[in-house]
């Protein structure tokens, strides 16, 4: 390994669109990356970090143009090359790991073939050699039973395995540089850790330089040698990872460090200016569930899926009760049964002393206002053709008619509660950022003055800095309105910021439960310990 950089980006400028709609996404970025090192580019959505990644690949999207600057890879200036020459370089000298494994593999080609075609293209391997080398690569990235997997199609693999395949594709021709654009943000934290481990070991084995794009400073802290922080198209801070995290110089970096859930273990408190309602001393739980069971019939004879196999839980008034677990653990199914979105096969749910599980028809409909749900994908859960004003007041129309003025006033008040200004009333979901859309979804849930909010992964689709703002809002609202939360998440780092009680779910059952501090500090099961150790940022906080 020499100190000569294999990647050198000099004064890079990229713009999108033209004329009045012109947007200057990257404004003079300089980067250097030496062989065998990991450089993390950290920033929020819209900071220009993905555009830098695209420019290094020579794959800027339609409408984007490099207006100034150069990108040199291994001494070759990419910006001077024609498209045909670039295609020879991509995959051979520069590898790429995309963000979303569920969409990044061709659904109609076999796994092995998707690796082999890159080998045939760049190494000139014969069909048979490429196919057998593809199986070796699957083995190298830690995919069990590689011969069988190579013959399967992407939909037959889990998200974590698909991302390993994509890593295998990126490293197939042992490139000098691998660009990884948010490689794990679509994965569960435990899977994220294994995938990142795999990338690190490939880096070590081949001396590859890795450009890691991420919004999560904790991930960067764990994995990178150097960190570059980007905001609005410029680099605001750069340096060795340990230094940047320990003594952030720029105010934006400090905000990112403060926001990264992995780097903070304390529960969020309501802000000082929030006036809390006085606590209700009543000891009876707001909601209790006994023996909840849900089995989904198998499709096409593949056997029934036992999603939830007997869950008991008790949620006290004004607490945040969190269920944490990986995809497929049954946590969302449990939450949906409690909100009566789906019916339990058996079991009993009592809400405020009344048997919720036995309610039907009109009585259930009237009861629904006490339990409201906020879903993971904020944009997907809002009707794209409705204005924000209509969206947040829609639940109220079920209770009777309102005059136009009343409705506008109520909507403004609801938005104010979620700290959004009245200028958002006329906007449509597509005009909102992810964080704003989630605030609107929370305002809509609050419209009918519920007692219990079921929050199903409410911040998983958001950038960490926005995550933190939404979590703070939830904590404030809880104090203001005396709300009770059922919080669902795969991310223990987020859970520990908001929970009073935690239940850990695995394979349809609760494997551990208790007060948050006890579960986090003295985990009783290996599974919980695994979840805790998967929280990124351990390198800094430990």
């Amino acid at each position: 390994m020499s100190d000569v950089p294999v990647l050198k980006v000099t004064d890079l400028h990229v713009t999108y669109g033209s004329g009045a709609a012109r947007h200057h996404a990257v404004r003079g970025v300089d980067l250097e990356l030496a062989a065998g090192r990991i450089l993390a580019v950290v920033g929020e959505s819209g900071s220009g970090k993905s555009t830098v990644a695209n420019a290094v690949l020579g794959l800027l999207p339609d409408g984007a143009r490099r207006t100034e600057g150069t990108v040199e890879v291994d001494g070759i200036e990419l910006t001077a090359l024609r498209e045909r020459a670039l295609r020879r370089l991509r995959g051979d000298v520069v590898g790429f790991v995309p963000q979303d494994p569920s969409r990044s593999l061709n659904p109609v080609l076999r796994i092995g073939e998707q690796i082999a075609e890159a080998l045939r293209r760049h190494t000139g391997a014969s069909r048979a050699n490429a196919a057998s080398r593809a199986i070796e690569i699957l083995d190298e990235v830690g995919i069990p039973d590689p011969e069988r997997r190579a013959r399967q199609y992407p939909h037959e693999l889990s998200g974590g395995l698909r991302q390993r395949v994509l890593i295998g594709i990126a490293w197939a021709c042992t490139p000098q540089i691998v660009v990884a654009d948010e490689p794990t943000s679509a994965l569960d934290v435990t899977v994220q850790r294994h995938v990142l481990d795999r990338m690190e070991s490939l880096r070590a084995a081949h001396g590859t330089a890795v450009l890691l794009i991420t919004h999560d400073l904790a991930v960067a802290a764990d994995r990178a040698d150097d960190i570059v922080v980007m905001q609005q198209g410029i680099i605001v801070e750069s340096g060795p990872a340990a230094e940047v995290l320990a003594a952030p110089q720029h105010e934006y970096t400090r905000a990112l460090v403060a926001a990264a859930p992995g780097l903070h273990s304390a529960r969020l408190r309501p802000r000082a200016e929030v006036t809390a309602v006085t606590a209700d001393a009543s000891g009876t739980p707001l909601l209790s569930a006994r023996g909840l069971v849900k089995t989904y019939p198998g499709d096409g004879g593949s056997g029934a899926v036992h999603a939830v196999t007997g869950v008991d839980l008790e949620i006290r008034r004004r607490e945040t009760f969190s269920i944490v677990g990986e995809s497929g653990s049954g946590k969302s199914t449990t939450a949906r049964m409690i909100a009566r979105i789906i019916d339990a096969d058996s079991g009993e749910i009592r809400f405020d002393g009344e048997e919720l599980s036995a309610m039907e028809g009109e009585r259930l409909r009237r009861f629904r206002r006490y339990i409201q749900v906020v879903f993971q994908n904020p944009v997907g859960s809002l009707d794209p053709r409705m204005s924000v004003e209509k969206l947040v007041t829609e639940p109220l129309r079920a209770g009777g008619t309102m005059s136009r003025r009343q409705r506008a006033a109520t909507a403004a008040e609801l938005l104010d509660q979620v700290r959004l200004g009245p200028e958002h009333l006329e906007r449509r979901p597509a005009q909102l950022s992810g964080g704003q859309a989630q605030r609107v979804a929370i305002a809509r849930a609050l419209a009918v003055r519920p007692e219990l909010l079921v929050l199903d992964e409410p911040v998983s689709a958001l950038d960490v800095s926005v995550q933190e703002q939404v979590l703070q809002l939830l904590v404030d609202l809880q104090a203001e309105h005396g709300l009770t939360y059922l919080f669902i998440s795969h991310d223990l780092a987020v859970v520990r910021q908001i929970s009073d009680s935690i239940a850990v779910m695995s394979q349809g059952a609760i494997v551990e439960r208790g007060p948050a501090a006890q579960v986090l500090e003295a985990p009783g099961t290996a599974y919980t310990r695994e979840l805790i150790s998967a929280i990124p940022g351990a390198a800094v906080t430990a």
Binding site: L57, L59, L86, R87, R88, L89, R90, G91, D92, V94, G95, F96, P98, Q99, D100, P101, S102, R103, S104, L105, N106, P107, V108, L109, Q114, E117, A118, R121, G142, P144, Y153, H155, E156, L157, S158, G159, G160, L161, R162, R164, L166, I169, A170, L187, D188, T190, V191, R193, H194, V195, R198, D299, G300, G301, S302, G303, E326, S327, G328, E530
Partner: protein
């Protein structure tokens, strides 16, 4: 087998439903069909002798109660017996059997031309830069459906038959006679293909896996052929079924313009002559063709799309067993 059986039942249902609706519509028409047919043929000289009429009814299978006719005609379908034409006296099945190959030849060529044309336009539009060029190319294929077939037909005849003399203007002799009718029909067919195909190609072109393919450094033809088209062809195939159904019945105008015999001409003549046996027969043949092609397309879908194939094979879903793969995405 579990995949095939419902599709076959579906096809049978379509045929039965078409038969029932056609039967009901024809019997809901006022007046006696035999009398009406005779009146069209002979005008005021048509016989009204009840005995003669009864004999004719029996000859054309129009005697007995409505329910009796409904059942016997339906059962006769399975023997390939479509009754006798009142206007010509021929067996309807013979008439259709003679006309069908001529229509099929034109339709098959039209389908192939339409598909090839839609494919070329789609790829051209996908590769076109800058944006205005792409928009311009995208505007051309819809013209195919906007210009009526009789106009295209007449223009083609005057240019390629009368001025250049390359192809005959009418008749049904040999391959050269099907070229102009096929081109005429391929325009609307291709336009519909283009709508579906281009939407699918542009969608696939934006997909993450195409980015992965680009990042692998694959050549442009490989990216387009293996990654984009292989995925885009799936929705386009669905349309083929509908197009074949349309071509089988929708050739009347073209056959009239080019003075060809075929299914379309038979239908027009039969309707004008109130020849209900022929009308029913043609409708049923077209319904069967439509049902069978749709069924084949559905089955083909299962072959081409591995996601459907897995569901069909009813294998247990692949579940990862490693810690990292524990999530079933």
């Amino acid at each position: 087998m579990r995949f095939v059986a419902p599709k076959v039942l579906q096809a049978l249902f379509v045929v039965w439903a078409t038969y029932t609706v056609t039967f009901l519509l024809i019997h809901a028409l006022p007046g006696d069909p035999v009398l009406a047919a005779l009146a069209v043929r002979a005008g005021d000289a048509a016989t009204t002798d009840p005995e003669v009429l009864d004999a004719l009814r029996a000859q054309y299978g129009l005697d007995g109660s409505v329910l009796h006719q409904y059942v016997t005609h339906f059962l006769a379908l399975f023997r390939g017996d479509l009754g006798v034409s009142m206007a010509t006296g021929y067996e309807v099945s013979d008439m259709v059997a003679r006309a069908l190959p001529k229509t099929a030849a034109v339709a098959a060529l039209a389908l192939a031309l339409g598909f090839a044309g839609a494919l070329s336009f789609t790829i051209a539009a996908y590769l076109a830069r800058p944006h205005w060029l792409r928009s311009t190319i995208s505007q051309i294929p819809p013209l195919g459906i906007a210009i009526p077939a009789f106009l295209t037909g007449v223009v083609l005849i005057s240019v390629f038959s009368f001025q250049l003399g390359w192809f005959p203007a009418s008749g049904a002799n040999g391959f050269s006679s099907i070229v102009l009718p096929a081109i005429t029909l391929s325009l609307p067919t291709g336009a519909v293909f283009y709508q579906v195909f281009s939407a699918a190609v542009f969608e696939a072109g934006d997909a993450g896996f195409v980015r992965t393919a680009q990042a692998k450094g694959l050549s442009q033809p490989v990216v387009i052929g293996r990654h984009i088209l292989r995925n885009a062809v799936l929705p386009a195939i669905t349309i083929i079924g509908i197009q074949i159904g349309y071509l089988a019945g929708g050739t009347a105008v073209v056959e009239t313009v080019f003075s060809r015999d075929g299914i379309g001409r038979i239908t027009v003549d039969a309707v004008l002559a109130r020849d209900i046996n022929v009308v029913t027969g043609v409708v049923m043949v077209v319904a069967v063709i439509y049902a069978v092609t749709t069924m084949i397309v559905d089955l083909l879908y299962g072959v081409l799309d591995p996601r459907i194939r897995t569901r069909v094979a009813a294998k247990p879903r692949a579940r990862a067993t490693t810690p990292a793969g524990g999530a079933d995405a």
